[in-house]
Amino acid sequence: MSSSLTLVQRKPGYSKPLRSLTYAFLTAVALAWMVPILGAFYSSLRPYAETQRKGIFSMPDSLSFKNYGDAFKQGGMGGWHGTFANTAFIVFPSIALILLFSSFMAFAVSRFTWRFNITLLLIFTAGNLLPAQVIFKPLFSFYEHVPWPNFLSDTNTGHLLGTKIAVIIIHVAFQTGFCTFVLSNYMKTIPKELNEAALVDGASVPRQFFQIILPLCRPALAALATLEFTWLYNDFFWAVVLLNQGSERPITSSIANLGGQYFSNDNLIAAGSMIIAMPTLAVYLMLQKQFISGLTLGASKG
């Protein structure tokens, strides 16, 4: 990481013992942090019959990735109606809409003066912090009675309830608040002169937004996309209460599918857990740099 190297040179250094102490501390924490995951990983490599007899943490007779294949199959993860695909159908449209709407809002409230500017921002931010289960019941009844044409969903329920659209809507409604907050803070750091200059050139509002402001917000958008991906991907509350068709449920329900009413194979669940963790981990690692820089400016330049 080149950035960390330059940082090493630039920042005031440690004394030598302090430096060793720091490394020792950071490494110790890192090791402790890895233990649960490594434990689950180890468990995922072992066959059921063996751990049933000897316990998870014993010397292995055999290690294999067989559980992964089984978990993938039994958890119903693959295919167009598998849990991975369902998650993708929910998460990607949600993130696109969330980022679009929140950058609309952020643009409007941060680049223009409105009478209700702050009020709106207050409502949005506060809304995002409400507990999900508190709004569940009325929302459920609402979804239950709002007709929804079958050609716009793959469930044919006739109502919004039970469709992925219902889940997407609540994700968008909820998360737009947080993203508006971060993005509006971010946009405030962009010099106003850019707008003024654009105005002199006769640029319309949509042109200013799409061609000038939005491209400058890329780091913040990347950071938010990373965070939102993690959150929406991992949601299981809304998915379970709003989607009654098992074939509509997202990846988080795969664990429950493996969980077992009767026979419970922890190694299989561990393998399932590892598979489920991979996409979010990959997204984080891929966008780690943007993630940090995007959040940086948004959050601390209020």
């Binding site: 019959a49 309830l161 009654n244 969980g259 009413q261 026979f263």
Partner: protein
Amino acid sequence: MSGTTEQSPSPRDVGFSINRRQVLIGGAGAASAAALLAACGSDAKTTPATTGGATGGTTAGTTAATSGAAAGGEVTFGSNYSDAKPKEAMQAAIDSTGLKVKVNTTDHNSYQGNITNYLAQPDDVLCWFAGYRMRFFADKGLVGDISDVWSKFTDFGDSFKTASTGNDGKQYFVPLYYYPWAVHYRKSVFAEKGYKVPTNKAELVALATKMQADGLIPFAYANDGKWPVQGTFDILNMRVNGYKYHVDLLAGKEKWTDPKTKAVFTAWAELLPFHQTNANGRTWQEAATSLEKKEAGMYYLGTFVATNSKDQAYLDDLDFFNFPALDDKIGADALDAPIDGFMMAAKPKNIEGAKALLAGLGTAKAVDAFLKIEGASVAANGKADTSGYNAIQKKSQELVSKAKNIAQFLDRDTSPDFVSNVIGDAFAAFVADPTQVDTILKGIEDKKSTYLS
């Protein structure tokens, strides 16, 4: 037991699925004609009911298949059989009806917790349990009256009909199978140590004491999820106070603070030292494993205890006995034997298809197909083929048929709301600290009126 269960995938793959394909191909041709018939008039409604399940026995399956085609279209089916083996078994039962069924499987636990939400938008036919748990939804108008399907059933005993009947006297449920709760043990351990199956309280206590002396935990015990110890309460209440009191208590007619109720907890506290400690943090699967590993001598649980193991030698070694009488005047003729089966949505999209499917699932053929793979429970249908039963299944059937009174299970015999919000915590608190019994019982009684009124 199940040499058959272990190898079950292959016969199904070869037999049933081919069978199903043939039926589907045949059915597809008949479907359009059937739709025309259905369009002709109101007698279409009676068609499936007259044919489906009318004759019972093995022939009924084929009849049901015909009627399924007559009912036309796809039936949707909500299943909570999410484990690999039960899922396959349920599919086999459905396939045996020959109907075109779209199965919606959701995981067992969230299906149950989410049932009210699910019933806002149910499939045509759905899996559920008998008892208060079924009658509650019937009262609320969330499930459909299937008395006409029942009028054609001839294979079920009266007790099953009663268990399928709502408070309004109509039928809302089709039973598939049941399983008793009993004290499980390993025959080899009993033989090796010279233990005898106890028939009364003194013998039970003597046996448990001896096991302790031999370094065994007398009873394996678990309460993760807060439902397993409800079984203990049920059986103790039925042994101490009898079936009638048990049912009345759960219906809210008796008081939890009554000395008779407290006597149950006194008995429970007496037996607790013979149980595995720290039950609240243990899954029943873990407790079952300690029975398998011979760390524990006995385990009071439903016969599904066997489903946790794949070791055939252990399964052959597994046996059970009825929980002994604690009071000679009360005896030991009541027990928990929950019935699982199906309900119909209040307004199914395909009502003819739904009823045809329920009729088909009520046949001996369907339950035979199910049990052939599941291999642990007992068929509700009286004409089911019992020749393939393993020892446990045979014994289960015998035990239940001898019992005078059958309870479902605590969370099926009273408001599930009350159980999940009050009883679960209360019993867990009792198991953790039996000395708090008075506070705990008062807490239950105070909260009861919120749920049962």
